[in-house]
Symmetry: C2
Subunit: 568 residues, 2 copies
């Protein structure tokens, strides 16, 4: 039913309703960066923020003073990813700016003021994920990062620094780190800053309170005393000190990432037919139907078991990497371009043994490349968990393939519908990928989260799964299916469930899913997405920030904001 087809294009027209770009290009390459300069020298890489004011994500504002928007952060995310795969020799990343007195002035305020609530929230979520990827690269990939702040480091700029392992601030009597969001804009530093201040850097909460309400920020010795930064460095000794620190940090890394692998372009193909948009890659396909506000997300297994190292050595991309990069890209397009889509049906296709074989090969490999592929899968599955749509996994065809790492998609979905077929050909199967291999943001596996407080059930499933595929009837008894129904009822039951879900309030569903998905212990990550983001969501809707007389609305104008004084 597809009637037109073209490559994703950043010059696509604006959406007439939201006046946001109708399509967003998440794929990029250092050769096309507009806002960053990436340079690699031995075990140290330098990523220099040089935001091009004239190339914002959408018309209507200029990216002055190294302020950022989605287009800037897409490049940052790309750079971190490429350093992990394409420059395994790099052990330290220095993030700096090409301005003399400004490191980064944070998210662009005019952009926030012009954006819809949905865009603002998704922008914050993406930037939060990117900052977590910096920490992930350090903790799991042997790529530590240093924020080299030779000038004003404000708001989201300081939040970027907080995500690095070390923060260096120039001691010039003027340059400060600051969170002006609350005093100047009546919103929160929403990219993890509040959480990282007290939970990661362990800044005393009363000092954090003073810091977060002092618009001009804190500089020099006091910034160091309060642990807001790790080093304060004179301007005259800046370059040599940063380099020495980078070298020392690089030398301290113990994880090696193995052979370089150049990430090929994904080149997804978009097509539109009436109210249906589709986005197709090699292994992943996303079809959205705006008439019913539902989508289907299909993931296909490879034809044969792959040894990821052997394939990568030929320059080709193993399925384990390719399929998950495609899935990642599809999830981002879903989030940013199809806000009206409430329910996503997740289907998988292929042979169970092939996926399980791929999982085993990936798990067995001791190369740095294979480990990086595993970590990428983990990050993408977390992106899936954090996507504010109702996911219903569906196993209803003979080629359904919720096996191993693809079973994680069913376990991460809000519900799992399984068809009970006469021959018992439909089922699930487990692999090493389900046994603590892919931790969620609570550091539990998805099976552990599903059977929270009942580890015996997890063990029983993994034992049973080791013997082979588990047909629907047995999977249902083991607690893996939400709904198991036979041919007579299945299609109707699923259809009604989807229609009902699509009829519910999207806001209530987002809050409900965020509360049910992340059981058990909390982490910095769940605090950021669960607590901080929820407060920011609320604050963004309040008149005090985004109303006619709100601080965000009036930023940069002579008129002072007018507040409604009621505390909750």
């Amino acid at each position: 039913m597809v009637t037109s087809s073209k490559l994703l294009d950043t010059d696509d027209p604006m959406d007439p309703v939201t006046n946001e770009p109708a399509r967003v290009e998440f794929e990029t390459h250092p050769s096309r960066y507009k806002h960053w300069k990436l340079a690699v020298d031995g075990d140290v890489a330098r990523l220099v923020m040089a935001v091009d004011a004239d190339h914002p994500h959408r018309p209507g504002y200029e990216l002055k003073l190294n302020s950022y928007d989605l287009s800037v952060d897409i490049e940052l995310a790309d750079a971190i990813q490429r350093l992990r795969f394409e420059h395994p020799g790099v052990r330290a990343l220095v993030i700096s700016a090409d301005l003399d007195r400004v490191f980064c002035s944070g998210a662009n305020i005019y952009m926030l003021g012009l954006s819809t609530h949905s865009f603002k929230v998704n922008f914050c979520k993406f930037t939060n994920e990117t900052r977590l990827y910096l920490e992930d690269a350090s903790a799991l990939g042997g790529l530590a990062s240093i924020a080299a702040c030779r000038g004003t480091t404000a708001g989201g700029g300081y939040e970027l620094a907080l995500a690095c392992d070390e923060i260096m601030l120039v001691d010039d009597g003027n340059s400060a780190v600051s969170f002006p969001e609350t005093p100047l804009l009546a919103v929160l530093p929403g990219t993890g800053g509040l959480t990282r201040l007290v939970d990661k850097r362990k800044v005393r909460r009363d000092r954090a309170d003073v810091f977060c309400t002092t618009a001009e920020g804190i500089k020099g010795k006091r910034a160091r005393e309060w642990n807001l930064v790790d080093h304060v460095v004179a301007r005259t000794k800046w370059d040599e000190t940063v380099l020495a620190r980078a070298k020392a940090v690089a030398a301290a890394q113990t994880i090696t990432r193995g052979s370089a692998f150049a990430l090929p372009a994904l080149g997804g193909t978009v097509a539109t037919a009436g109210a249906v948009d589709s986005l197709a890659y090699r292994f992943v396909r996303l079809v959205v139907d705006h008439a019913t506000r539902t989508a289907t997300l299909d993931v296909t297994a490879p034809d044969a078991v792959e040894d990821p190292d052997a394939i990568a050595a030929t320059g080709a991309e193993p399925w384990a990497l390719r399929a998950f990069r495609e899935l990642d890209d599809a999830l981002l397009h879903l989030r940013f371009e199809h806000a009206d889509i409430g329910v996503v049906l997740v289907r998988t296709h292929g042979k169970h043994d092939v996926v399980r074989g791929c999982d085993e090969a990936l798990a067995k490999s001791t190369t740095g490349f294979a480990r990086e592929v595993r970590h990428l899968q983990r990050r993408v599955l977390k992106r899936f968990d954090n996507t504010a749509r109702s996911f219903y996994a569906v196993a209803d065809a003979a080629d359904s393939c919720f096996a191993g790492v693809l079973l994680e998609l069913a376990l991460g979905s809000d519900r799992f519908y399984m068809l009970l077929d006469d021959k018992g050909t439909i089922g699930v199967s487990t692999s090493v990928a389900n046994a603590g291999f892919h931790q969620t943001c609570t550091n539990m596996s998805r099976l552990e989260a599903r059977f929270y407080g009942d580890p015996g059930k997890v063990d029983a499933i993994l034992r049973r799964g080791a013997e082979g595929a588990i047909p629907t009837e047995e999977a249902d008894k083991l607690g893996l299916a939400t709904v198991a129904a036979d041919d007579i009822d299945f299609a109707d039951e699923l259809r009604i469930a989807v229609e009902e879900r699509a009829s519910l309030s999207p806001d209530a569903l987002t809050g409900m899913e965020a509360s049910l998905r992340f059981v058990g212990p909390e982490t910095l990550e769940t605090k950021i997405f669960g607590r901080l983001s929820a407060w920011q969501n609320w604050i963004f809707t309040r008149a005090n920030s985004t109303g006619e007389h709100g601080a965000l609305t009036l930023y940069g104008q002579p008129e002072r904001p007018q507040f409604q004084w009621k505390r909750t």
Copy 2:
């Protein structure tokens, strides 16, 4: 400056702006309950919900079908408190209803629809605290609870049941437990329900998803299978089974609560002079100045060290109990009656050694009564932590007394301003009350939370504190003061800080404080107040719930809600 004075009166007029009662009476007594019947029989108490439809908290709606509002929950909180102190022999509390086919239909929807955002949020916070008190009574006070649900148990009604140790549901083919909030009202079950489902009762998250979107709920065997309830009981065997279960639960309790103590009325006195309202009790005084949107909260120590058991034996109320009950009441009045107040200055008065002596006597006592007093202090301090106002503790007078349990108020405040006086008479002192005696909702002490990740600092302060009072200069060096200033600067610095704080957006401050106050590990309690409440705050502001065509607004009317479909 007080010009008029009268007792709190529930017949006070309505606030002309919000049309909510200008004053709320939080003190009550079983003899005055309108909505509950309390009966004690040996080791089992019965609390029967019999909501009087004609006595809502404010005019404009009827409390039909055992739906509840603030007035109903104030009585429930009172009953739990009195059972702990006045009926120490009671080991099991059975909560039931006097309706034949309805247990409780949840928070009254029309009340929510008529209420301001600020009231809704504070109402939810209070009901959340009351439900946590049920769990606290069981875990710490040897008072277990059983929800005996002989009929429809919907929304907040099921959330009340979830806070009990056991849930019994009648098996009559009709009575179900349900969360209709999301499908019918486009909001969340906001009184801890979502968190308790998956984290406390460990209901599988996909089943929780189905349950929370199924308006009619789940009944009978399936409710038991999904662990939504503990027992399903035939109507014919209802009374005997509930009684047998209550007896068994009572017999299983291991904590005893000691001698009965009848809680005297607090009898606070209110007065108004221009824009200043004051509320005075024996040891606590709250003065709010609506012109500057600031308040002062004063807590005074007793004249002499008290042995709580000896005093209670005479029928008098020890300071350790009285002062904290007064503080609790004052905090509730602040929350519900003075939403415009953004900053609260907390001052203490008395002799350090007296407070420390009271703390030691309370800690040493092995009686159930003393333990209950300690737990009450703990609950009140948590209510303080969870109050969405900026608290600045101030030690600026010779009689300032941030000692022991009163130092907890400074540690719980957002900032602590200390005057550096020439003679070193102003300072702080520690006692057993600061050494893990009063845990916050993260299960850390307030000192541990202040020096999160640095237990050495906690030890150093407790060691130093054991030697005697710590003057301001030394307290500052130890990290206890946020700001220490001398006579020349102190008053100006504090005045400017208060004025600045009072000028900031109340919403941003609420989100900021909620993010900075609760560092470290999360618990069911922090998940409820930090995550669930934040999502609900947001959802309550969205057009899909409270807009002109929102589901909450249109509840009970023929018109169907119209939703804006954008997912975040």
